[in-house]
Subunit: 218 residues, 2 copies
């Protein structure tokens, strides 16, 4: 579930070791182990690609057997979907905060852009961007498309609210949302952990470009 | 070769039928058939994904046997690379024209953006955007990365020329190039043949957004 997966983010100490090797309270164990599977899969998919990662690879990285994995997830496609949902939950949380915030809609849009940039370069960014391209089953593809369309719709609504309150000039809200999402999603391709700029610094430069435009005096 | 592949674009009448079924001048036959393989592969990769497309599928779509395919291409990875190069050749041709053009650098950048948008939604757009993500061999990945970096560098140089001639305001040229490339590349995800806007209309809206910015009066 997205909420459960998103909740694991601060538990960084869990990641290097396998939770199968730790003693924990029994009622949390299943959820923790399932989250560990999702996290390990997200990292493996990003590093080696979805099609190049087998459940055997994943089991080995967690130091468990493949049958053990099946206690937590039914198949590889379901794991990719959970990774996608975990990334989506971060984006949704950032949208929730932006929509609740006060002030001009442009400022709320910019706050959302900062949250989006952080999510895209996070553990689940790759899965969120690439899940749809892995040529999954029709039902799964449809679910992912629908969830993505929901994000797009809310982003567009923020832009339309900005046009309504005057903080954003009249523009094609649909194309603006696509241009913004594209600039941000593309970070998933070029951003590496060793990048000189932090995600919020990149977001601020993008906000400057989109807000003020590139037009010079010439 | 990119030049050969790019040259096939206007020959639309070739695509529905297999060139193996046509009588042509012998000296062109090998090149034409090789181009047909690259085109058919580009369409198959875009529709079904690289990993889900076998050389058997490709041979069947061209109504030939797999051993026949090997007369034109050594393996699937090499085909993907040729598809990538064919798409890249379109982008490069558009950059060549923009660099040769006169007037303010901002206008040359915008001309390039229109050419880029057309290439991204073309036959080879998917392969150009996704080749690197297919977790190919190290040598192939390095070649693709280098070729992409060349495009990025030339795009950045156009932006810097604009800052120098005053047609673009002082900005982070690297981040601007990434934002522009992201907006354009994202078209490859959402654009479908039945889209209400043509690629040049989308490019014009993107140019408007990037040139004038979104800032309202509020």
């Amino acid at each position: 579930m997205p909420a459960a997966a998103a909740k694991t983010r601060p538990r960084k100490h869990l990641r290097p070791a396998s939770p199968w090797e730790a003693r924990r309270r029994p009622r949390h164990e299943h959820a923790l182990k399932r989250e560990a599977v999702i996290h390990a899969a997200a990292r493996a998919f990003r590093e080696r690609g979805y099609h190049n990662t087998s459940l055997d690879d994943l089991a080995a990285s967690l130091r468990v057997t493949k049958p053990t994995l099946y206690l937590y997830v039914p198949n590889k496609e379901a794991i990719l979907f959970e990774c996608f949902r975990a990334g989506l939950a971060q984006i949704q949380a950032s949208l929730d905060a932006a929509e609740r915030g006060g002030g001009p809609a442009a400022d709320r849009l910019f706050a959302f852009i900062r949250g989006y940039a952080a999510a895209i370069v996070g553990t689940f960014g790759w899965c969120m961007l690439r899940a749809e391209d892995q040529h999954l089953g029709a039902a799964m593809s449809r679910k992912i498309k629908l969830l993505k369309a929901g994000i797009d719709k809310r982003m567009r609504a923020l832009i339309e609210a900005g046009i309504a309150d005057g903080s954003i000039r009249r523009c094609d809200a649909r194309m603006t949302a696509f241009a913004l999402a594209g600039a941000l999603n593309w970070m998933g391709h070029w951003y590496r952990e060793d990048a000189t700029l932090k995600p919020h610094e990149i977001a601020d430069r993008f906000i400057d470009i989109f807000n003020h435009g590139l037009r010079g005096r010439g």
